[in-house]
Amino acid sequence: SSPTAEEPGATSASSTAASGLEGSITVFAAASLKSTFTELAAEFETANPDATIALNFAGSSDLVTQITEGAPVDVFASADEKNMAELTDGGLVDADAPVDFATNVLQIAVPPTNPAGIATFADLAKPEVKTVVCAPQVPCGSAAVTVEQATGVTLAPVSEESSVTDVLGKVTSGEADAGLVYVTDVIAAGDAVTGIPFPESSEAVNTYPIAVVKASKSADVAQAFVDYVSGDVGRYVLESAGFGKP
């Protein structure tokens, strides 16, 4: 979506084309990476005409289940370290393979009109405010718990959702007055919500690791893609979507 991305992409294309990468790989990526990875994959293919990339998006834990059950995969990009750890523990990914390529922090999302007048993290704890968060079992939820502990504010959410998308859905529909989501989600949602940053969010930084899976049959292409994502082009595309530096 950002035409300016083509310039660094072009340089990288010229550098990798020489390596003559050939083959097709399958990338399993967290659903929140859909737009960025779709773009990156397209540019990677342009840069390496003989390489093709198939993308499979789902929740990180879904993907781990699939990989554990023998899904044909070359690269795994997780939305949190815990899921990546499951693969390294299970020996499906070399322990030193994962590379952190992006980070994400929480932001308060409110409907554009901000009906509850939210300004700070502490406002979320007011009883009349309908707050939605992620359940502690999922990354965005555990991040919220971390922030709560750091600030001493205890939230009484009306719902503990199982994914960021669900939190965002409640806010965009106006059902909830506020929700805790990632910066990237606020940006992706466009006009539908307004993001309210809060300083305490730095207490819980979420890291996205990416790694080549051991069983990969095109390890060279896979590694090239990992490098591409964690390289300049990747950084640029990810940052324009709101992700932070690892």
């Binding site: 781990v64 309908k130 959410p157 503990e160 959702e161 199982s162 859905g169 106006g174």
Partner: protein, 273 residues
């Protein structure tokens, strides 16, 4: 009248049995695979944990309520679709299927658009001081929405199959339409009504996407067993599978009881009519 006494006639071609066994295996094997993976040592603590029990009880309560709502709304809908003739009937019949084809999550969004705080009807409800979202009512509504087509369609099919012959006889004996419905039509389609209700109950029990989207997920209020399972999966997929087993057992027990009750009425269509 051979059929009357033909309870012993049941000519089933051999190949049919073979294919049926393959079909059954297709459904039962995944269950077996699931059971094989269950870590039984963890199983008991897992299913007796507070959150699991709360989710199970909530699921049962809401599914029963949703099934009741399905019966109340579904019987009239099936009767009208099967017996009346009106313009737009076919379109309506297709529309009733909608919740089936809509990905549940989208169904939840549509419900939000309707009953949500800023939804079509929700705004009026809000003014009356009734808030549906994030309440157990929302769970029941979501489950009813996805489960209703099952009841309506299986009942409508049965109504068409039994035809109107007995109803006509009832009318000539002086029974008003309501009496005919209560004393003739419904008893005649009772097996279909029971399987429709069972289908609805099962669908309501397994409902996940629409509930998540429309009602949220709060322990004891809106977090039903499927939602609990989904969350479990984030931390431990095997635990989620184990918990699903509880859902399966509940379903099998309830379904078994329902069919038992159906047969207890002492009336088996196959043998009579």
């Amino acid at each position: 009248m051979p059929g009357r006494r033909s309870s012993s006639y049941a000519g089933i071609p051999g190949w049919v049995v073979i294919v049926a066994v393959i079909g059954a295996a297709f459904v039962v094997l995944p269950l077996a695979a699931m059971i094989l993976r269950v870590n039984w040592a963890e199983f008991i603590p897992l299913i007796t944990s507070e959150s699991s029990v709360a989710a199970l009880l909530l699921s049962l309560r809401t599914s029963v309520a949703a099934t009741a709502l399905c019966i109340v709304l579904g019987i009239p809908m099936a009767v009208v679709l099967a017996r009346a003739e009106f313009w737009g009937q076919k379109v309506l019949r297709s529309l009733v299927l909608l919740p089936l084809v809509l990905p549940p999550v989208v169904g939840g969004i549509a419900l939000l658009y309707t009953f949500g705080r800023r939804g079509l009807l929700g705004q009026s409800f809000e003014m009356l001081g009734v808030t549906i979202a994030f309440s157990t009512t929302a769970v029941v509504l979501a489950q009813t929405f996805v489960a209703l087509p099952f009841l309506v369609l299986s009942l409508e099919g049965a109504l068409r199959t039994v035809g109107t012959r007995y109803e006509a006889v009832g009318a000539t004996l002086g029974a008003r339409p309501t009496t005919v419905l209560r004393r003739i039509t419904m008893p005649l389609v009772l097996p279909a009504l029971i399987s429709g209700a069972v289908l609805s109950f099962a669908r309501a029990l397994g409902e996940f996407g629409a509930t998540l989207t429309f009602a949220g997920s709060l322990q004891g209020v809106t977090r039903t067993l499927p939602l609990e399972i989904y969350l479990q999966r984030e931390t431990d997929p095997d635990a989620a599978v184990a918990l699903s087993l509880v859902l399966v057992i509940v379903a099998v027990v309830v379904v078994g009881l329902a069919h038992q009750a159906g047969e207890f009425t002492g009336f088996r269509r196959g043998a009579s009519s």
